[in-house]
């Protein structure tokens, strides 16, 4: 039993106190550990719709001619980037395993040079693991001079392992202005 207002703490109180303080710091660390944990979890499950950030090797044996999957393309500009950016084809049908190339058009409508970065996301999230990009402009920064325009290619295939209940997948690109952070 400790009496209040004494300088020395009862050893039992000290022990409980130490454990709780350690618990607090551990949980603070856990909050940050959730960030890599979440990324790992999403890599495994495709939960957040993120696609591969490195070029995938095309390694498919046989195209599934029986099945047609609709792939839709959407583009949007993050706040404050003065570009025109859109898919040149809105929607295509592919057989799983088949390689396809689609083009996106981008134009820097400002006078200054801007570096853009497209961030892809696939919906539904589970399909992200089966959408494989062999070549994509989103793997790199896109520097465009003032008023310059470009056609950018995306080569991809849909993995034949794609779950049967998914017949449409939507690939959305959001374009960000990263001039400031790259310039540093």
């Amino acid at each position: 039993m400790t009496a209040p207002n004494q300088t020395g703490l009862d050893p039992r109180v000290k022990k409980t106190l130490t454990r709780l303080v350690l618990g607090v710091f551990a949980m603070f660390g856990f909050g940050f550990a959730l960030v890599p944990l979440y990324d790992v979890f999403c890599d495994i499950t495709g939960l957040n719709g993120k696609t591969n950030t490195q070029a995938a090797q095309y390694s498919v044996e046989g195209v599934d001619k029986e099945r047609l999957v609709t792939v839709q393309f959407i583009s949007r500009m993050a706040k404050g980037i003065p570009w025109q950016f859109e898919p040149m084809v809105r929607e295509i049908k592919v057989h799983p395993g088949e390689r396809k190339v689609v083009k996106f058009f981008a134009k820097n409508e400002a006078q200054r040079d801007i570096i853009g970065q497209a961030v892809p996301s696939v919906s539904p999230g589970q399909a992200a693991l089966y959408f494989q990009k062999i070549e994509c402009f989103c793997f790199n920064h896109q520097p465009l001079k003032g008023q310059e325009s470009i056609e950018m290619a995306l080569q991809f295939y849909v993995d034949p392992e794609l779950p049967k209940d998914i017949s449409t997948l939507t690939l959305s690109y959001t374009l960000y202005d990263i001039t400031a952070s790259v310039g540093k």
């Binding site: 039993m1 400790t2 409980t16 709780l20 618990g23 949980m27 940050f32 979440y38 957040n48 961030v119």
Partner: protein
């Protein structure tokens, strides 16, 4: 139970000359007495209740009619945001900490909290936190306007410049609650009177014990997530910024990992309070004491694995939706155990309807309504319709206002004679109860229908077909706000005098706190009582 009553000739009086008691403002600034600190917590939380309540009045005034008439949409967002922050962190949580400070040492037969100086500090940093938060109203850009849930990128990329103030305020509030929680755990684990085993502790103490563990576990996660928001906004990190490889949805996962246990932090102590008052006024022992303890612990455990039910609409695999749906529905089982135990306690009891009992009975009924609407929201398929509508607003106000707040009123009325030494004005307190009960239902019940009909939350304007219900809701809101001033009158009147309270003013009450005189002497249980 045999106990010793400690009586002091000089008891709780601001200008009293006890050996280590100072006078005037210094007494309150430097006090390490759990009763003083408890009182300060309670007064602070009531001031915050009125502050946050005033913001709710502004919101309801704007929503009285369709169209924009009184305030701008941006200021409306600031009102909803700061109202939420103040009510959660400023009103409900400090009120519970205040009750814990006052009552836990007296209930377990301890002379004070285990760490009295830490206790002083955990209270005194709170006013600074809320000064920082409220000061942002007077700055360019205004107060936080991104919702109390501060979803990224609203609080990062699209912040109005208040993010830093918000983050530091939340950090201080978090440190305060963590220190308060540590103190509660250390006190309960080490300072119980001889003979008071864990399973002999009053349920009130149990619920605070478990709540304190929840606080220690999740407040640091909140501190982590606000820190990430801070560095994303000002230091160029990309935790939640998709352009830099982050993920805004991850914000919601981390936030709700804190946020869901947080809602139990605000309701488990309420369970403890009504588990004290209902047996007292039913003149029966609490039905199923040990099942109550285990139910509280189960709810606390389950609260960690249900967070994603707040984000069903973010796009989750079917398996995830089912997992979080079933886990959430599972919480209804221990909660049901509790509700049935309260009803069973009242069953064939010799019930009298003093004000604390009225609030407790209202709690059981109205909290259950809130629980049921929670169960509806837990169902993934229908949640897509209810998400972000007034149905959600109705749900969480039923559990937080008629749940947490009503239980606090029950607790305050129950222990007020012990604190002040006087009985409160019965008529006035019943007026407070009935005015609150009627107006709170006029205020929140129609919101269910508004939500089901599709009125979105956090929007300052609405479609014309919602006009009638919103008018009723606003009238209920103003009436509820005014009713709380009756409470203030009751408390002030009770402090100033009234019928002298006996040591045990409620004949069915049990527990060590009733073995000391009323008002409770400044120092109690300096020699521990013996509990058989």
């Amino acid at each position: 139970m045999t106990t010793e009553t400690i009586s002091h000739d000089s008891h709780d009086d601001a200008h009293d000359h006890h050996d280590h008691k100072m006078t005037g403002i210094k007494r309150w600034l430097f006090t390490t007495n759990h009763k003083d600190i408890g009182s300060m917590y309670l007064w602070f939380s009531f001031i915050m209740l009125l502050t946050g309540g005033a913001m709710a009045m502004v919101i309801r005034a704007e929503l009285f009619q369709p169209g924009l008439q009184i305030i701008s949409p941006d200021f409306f967002n600031q009102m909803t945001t700061v109202h939420g922050l103040i009510m959660v962190f400023g009103a409900i949580m400090p009120a519970f900490t205040g009750l814990a400070n006052w009552m836990i040492p007296m209930m377990i037969g301890a002379p004070d909290m285990a760490l009295p100086r830490l206790n002083n500090w955990s209270f005194w940093i709170l006013p600074f936190a809320f000064t920082i938060l409220l000061s942002s109203f007077f700055m360019a850009g205004g107060a936080p306007n991104f919702g109390w849930t501060f979803y990224a990128p609203l609080s990062t990329t699209y912040s109005n410049g208040s993010t830093a103030f918000f983050v530091f305020a939340v950090h201080i509030m978090g440190i305060s609650s963590i220190m308060g929680a540590i103190n509660i755990v250390v006190t309960i684990m080490n300072m119980r009177a001889p003979g008071m085993t864990y399973m002999k502790m009053p349920l009130f103490v149990w619920t605070f014990f478990i709540t304190a563990y929840l606080l220690v576990a999740v407040m640091p996660v909140l501190a982590g997530v606000v820190t990430m928001v801070l560095t994303d906004t000002y230091f160029g990190t990309s935790f939640f910024d998709a352009a830099g490889g982050g993920d805004p949805v991850m914000f919601q996962h981390i936030f709700w990992f804190f946020g869901h246990p947080e809602v139990y932090i605000m309701i488990l102590p309420a369970f403890g309070i009504v588990s004290t008052t209902i047996p007292a006024f039913s003149r029966k022992k609490l039905f199923g004491y040990s099942s109550m303890v285990y139910a509280t612990a189960s709810i606390a455990f389950l609260s960690f694995i249900v967070w994603a039910h707040h984000m069903f609409t973010t796009g989750m695999p079917l398996f995830g939706e089912l997992f979080f749906m079933y886990c959430t529905m599972l919480i209804a089982v221990p909660t049901g155990v509790k509700v049935f135990n309260w009803v069973a306690t009242m069953w064939r009891g010799a019930i009298t309807f003093e004000t604390p009992m009225l609030f407790s009975i209202a709690f059981v009924i109205l909290f259950t309504i809130g629980g049921f609407s929670g169960l509806m929201l837990a169902l993934t398929p229908v949640d897509f319709q209810y998400h972000d509508t007034y149905f959600v607003v109705a749900h969480f106000h039923y559990v937080l206002v008629t749940g947490a707040l009503f239980s606090i009123y029950a607790g305050v009325y129950y222990w007020l004679p012990k604190w002040t030494g006087y009985m409160f004005d019965e008529t006035l307190s019943k007026a407070h109860f009935w005015c609150s009960l009627i107006s709170v239902n006029v205020l929140f019940f129609p919101m269910h229908f508004l939500g089901l009909a599709g009125m979105p939350r956090r929007i300052p304007d609405y479609a014309l077909q919602f006009a009638d219900f919103n008018k009723w809701v606003s009238i209920g809101g103003f009436a509820f706000g005014l009713s709380q001033l009756i409470f203030l009158a009751v408390v002030i009147k009770c402090i100033r005098g009234g019928k002298q309270a006996e040591a045990k003013p409620w004949d069915g009450a049990e527990g060590l706190e009733w073995t000391v005189a009323s008002p409770a002497p400044y120092h109690t249980f300096e020699k521990p009582p013996k509990v058989d």
